[in-house]
């Protein structure tokens, strides 16, 4: 009986909160707000805030065409694998204070899980047999590699700072990081962590593939790259994964740098987290989208491996010397 009950609870976690349903609503709303704000910045009226939901449900009702050259199984399975990985990350990220799943190396697991949606897209794209997808996936790989280095440096510097305080060397556990912040105040307030926080904010648009770092799915240039052959429900799932990714990465920022501000009530915490995510999205995704033009892939790579990595490295060095 107890097993049935606990598995039902876990199913609830996965499907409703903080799993699929919560991610779905939060991701869609954040994307909608992003589109609206970009429109306002370009002096347009802009779409309704629920527009991504309309897009998603419309795509669910469309015909799904499978190209003759495609590998059917991989083509259809890839979007679902990507979405599943994206939802699992959300279980690891504490809603301000308590995560559902936790262990000793959450951050490393998250680093790997963040790769899966992008890899799924690469597999799906290459299975579709389109030359546009070929161009798109080669660029996507470069984007992944470009964003990975600063992200690892950021995670290391946070792990070192918390680990120093806990006396464990490196601390990759997000629940420990949350506990440390609840006791000592947010990491954002620590002088040595400010460069890492800035670097993380610069990494977010690159990881989500937003303007100006969307060379991999430049719609005006290579027909959305890997998605060129997708239609109907699989395309809708990819759009949903993208929307959730924006929310996940901003939530990860909140967990890493703005922890310890919770009230203890889960629903209220979720609202606070969502509000902070919206503010971060507006400033670091919408504003950047509205004022910049698309970067070439080599410019993107250079930017992340020099400027952003250097900023993250400052934090790591400071953390290593115990500051």
């Amino acid at each position: 009986m107890a097993i049935v009950y606990s598995s039902l609870v876990y199913l609830g976690y996965i499907l409703i909160f903080p799993g699929f349903l919560f991610c779905f609503v939060a991701g869609m709303l954040i994307t909608g707000i992003d589109r609206k704000i970009v429109a306002k910045m370009q002096k347009r009226v802009g779409p309704p805030i629920l527009q991504p939901m309309y897009d998603f449900f419309k795509l669910m009702g469309k015909e799904t065409i499978i190209p003759a050259a495609a590998n059917k199984t991989v083509f259809l399975a890839a979007p679902i694998v990507g979405l599943a990985a994206m939802v699992v990350i959300q279980l690891f990220i504490p809603v301000i204070s308590t995560p559902i799943l936790y262990g000793t190396a959450d951050l490393i697991v998250i680093l790997y899980l963040l790769l899966i949606p992008a890899l799924a897209e690469i597999y799906g794209g290459s299975a579709s047999g389109s030359p546009y997808a070929g161009v798109g996936l080669s660029r996507e790989m470069v984007t992944i590699i470009a964003c990975e280095l600063p992200l690892v440096l950021i995670f290391l510097s946070v792990a070192k700072t918390v680990g120093n305080a806990m006396g464990t060397g490196l601390c990759f556990s997000l629940s420990d990081i949350a506990a440390y912040q609840a006791a000592n105040g947010s990491l954002m307030l620590k002088a040595s962590m400010i460069p890492a926080a800035i670097a993380m904010l610069l990494v977010i648009p690159g990881e989500t593939g937003n303007h100006p770092f969307d060379a991999a799915e430049a719609e005006t240039e290579i027909c959305e790259g890997m998605l060129a052959e997708y239609s109907g429900a699989p395309l809708g799932i990819y759009k949903l994964t993208h929307a959730i990714k924006t929310f996940t990465l901003t939530a990860l920022f909140v967990a890493l740098f703005l922890g310890g501000i919770g009230t203890g009530i889960v629903l209220l915490d979720a609202l606070i987290e969502f509000a902070i995510c919206v503010v971060l999205t507006i400033i670091f995704i919408s504003l950047v989208h509205a004022v910049t033009a698309r970067l070439k892939i080599e410019q993107l790579f250079k930017y992340y491996w020099t400027a952003v990595s250097a900023i993250a490295l400052i934090s790591l060095v400071l953390a290593w010397f115990g500051m």
Binding site: P47, Q51, G61, Y132, E229
Partner: protein, 181 residues
């Protein structure tokens, strides 16, 4: 449960795919004007899609030259159902000033079912917008008809409007070859 939601969403999120079939660029500019800040079609959910597979509404401009006709039809047939075809300008309707030329194959309605035709040379952005909004209503009707047919036992829904045989791109004589009238 989701059926009504999907039907409602179909009219609210139409993505456009634009085909220029030998247009003089006049209508294309007007379509761009529809999408840019002054008229901002995005407030109705319109978005320009890069690939025909993502589109709901196919916008065709130009008098359908002999070279572009098979490609236009091929692109249209790649758009998933339910789809709408909107022509902009007088060219795809009648051939306009190019009518009678050996290389002009207009009207488009000879080859596929055209849902909305916006006339004018060039039509005003307001007229194009009106045509596109009408097309969203037709999209919704098509979705409803598809659901109805599914209920009545047709497994794959009604076949799309009876399409004429699409001439393959290879059938079109290469430029320079003599064309038999």
């Amino acid at each position: 449960m989701f059926k009504n939601l999907i039907t409602e969403s179909t009219a609210k999120s139409p993505w456009l795919f634009h085909i220029n079939s030998g247009s003089c660029n006049g209508c294309d500019i007007e379509l761009v004007a529809v999408l840019t800040p002054r008229y901002d079609a995005e407030r109705f959910g319109f978005k320009l899609a890069g690939s025909p597979r993502h589109a709901d509404i196919v916008v065709v401009s130009g008098p359908l030259t002999q070279q572009s006709l098979p490609r236009t039809l091929r692109a249209i047939s790649q758009v998933p159902e339910p789809r709408c075809i909107v022509t902009i300008g007088s060219c795809p309707q009648s051939g306009n000033v190019f009518k009678g030329s050996y290389s002009v194959m207009a009207p488009l309605s000879k080859y596929v079912h055209v849902d909305v035709a916006v006339a004018g040379c060039t039509p005003k952005p307001e007229a194009i917008m009106d045509g596109l909004v009408q097309a969203t209503e037709i999209l919704k009707e098509k979705r409803k008809a598809w659901l109805e047919a599914k209920k009545n036992g047709l497994k794959d829904g009604p076949k799309a409007e009876t399409e004429q045989e699409v001439p393959a791109a290879e059938d079109v004589p290469a430029s320079g070859e003599e064309v038999q009238q």
